[in-house]
Assembly symmetry: C2
């Protein structure tokens, strides 16, 4: 494998705050980055346009968008017609698995990233999950990521040939405030990112869903200005 290929990484890029920060971190680590986004029947296609702008702003070498049909399986407020919960008290956010959980989503995303990593000869896959603010998703836990890395190195030609794929989750132990501080140091323009589960047509955040609440609290705790445009200005 060439030197160039070994320094390539696939970066899962959703258009949100976390994955934008991860892309900046992968770039800062010296990786040639292949950003990978998905069109998965989600209600907010706006995310993909944000992902495109972020990949461009952070100098990703490539940005690929793969169509997948998670909506065919239903089962989540992010793909089906289940209302997104609003205004839940902040201390309730971490309890249980929320209705916005998409079945096996990260497993599907990582599987495609693995296929791309194998074809591109990339030695790492970056994913923006974190354990502290993980909002109850089972596939955002460190033990899940370790299991995927073990799988990846049994699943692929690269693994069999001894130069495996590392699953990197550099945000895993960071709070939202720490993520925002780190990304700001690296020049991430958080005005491009969209965290809201339920933005309006103009791409303005609702301010009330779990994701908006976590984000707002993060900027407040980081002591940094929140560039998010909200449909209804927070009180």
């Amino acid at each position: 494998m060439s030197e160039t290929a070994q320094k390539s990484a696939v970066v899962l890029l959703s258009g949100g705050l976390d994955s934008a920060t991860v892309l900046a971190l992968a770039r800062a680590d010296g990786y040639r980055t292949i950003a990978l986004s998905f069109r998965y029947g989600q209600r907010h296609q706006l995310e993909l346009e944000r992902a495109r702008l972020i990949a461009q702003a952070l100098n990703a070498a490539e940005h690929r968008i793969v169509d997948i049909d998670l909506a065919a399986f239903g089962g989540s407020a992010l793909t089906a017609d289940i209302p997104v919960p609003k205004g839940r008290p902040a201390d309730a956010l971490a309890e249980g698995i929320p209705v916005t959980y998409v079945p096996a989503r990260n497993t599907i995303f990582l599987s495609f990233a693995l296929a791309l990593a194998e074809v591109a000869g990339a030695g790492a896959i970056f994913i923006g999950v974190n354990a502290l603010d993980y909002s109850g998703y089972p596939d955002c836990r460190p033990e899940y990521l370790s299991a995927f890395e073990a799988l990846a190195n049994l699943a692929t030609k690269a693994g069999v040939e001894g130069h495996g794929v590392a699953i990197k989750a550099p945000l895993i132990d960071l709070t939202k405030a720490e993520i925002i501080r780190r990304g700001t140091e690296l020049g991430v323009d958080y005005g491009l990112t969209l965290s809201c589960y339920d933005p309006d047509e103009a791409g303005r955040a609702c301010g009330g869903c779990d994701s908006c609440q976590l984000r707002r609290r993060g900027f407040a705790e980081a002591g940094l200005p929140d560039p998010t445009v909200y449909a209804v200005e927070p009180v």
Copy 2:
């Protein structure tokens, strides 16, 4: 979880000999079966029509087809424009990873099966891989399947709640001849199945690719008539 839900299984169904046998085995085990096939940019869409006929003949409760775009990644003779090797000597079949290997294919297929299992409340996923005739694919090995099962039970709500998903590969230790004998006992019509990597437009098998060779040898060893229609009758 209801009794009905616990007895459901997702069965990966390609339209080939192995997965048809697996569907029959899952039905014989008393599962309500949800057959799952993929349209993945493969050159032989004929497979999907065969899968539909097999699901019907073997009384699958449902048959779902999911579109995924593996061709976007290239890297395999089954999705890209790399010639399928023909007429390789039989003793060369098991050596190395062949060009027909699709990057991370089983990982992607199992990930979608996992999403469907979670939504449908199915407690098992059946896959028709086998170790003896596995033709050099890294993601057909028993240790790979164990790693996926471990992942599945960390990835999902069902796993977190304690009623996990079992990955079942009932063909894993069988020879092609044993598979054919078992399926024949269960009434599988192998005339419906298509194993060939490179069939002609009428759906006739080429007779020369690795998959055709394994299949022909299997029927011969089983001492059963081969219902396959070949474009060129084998000598």
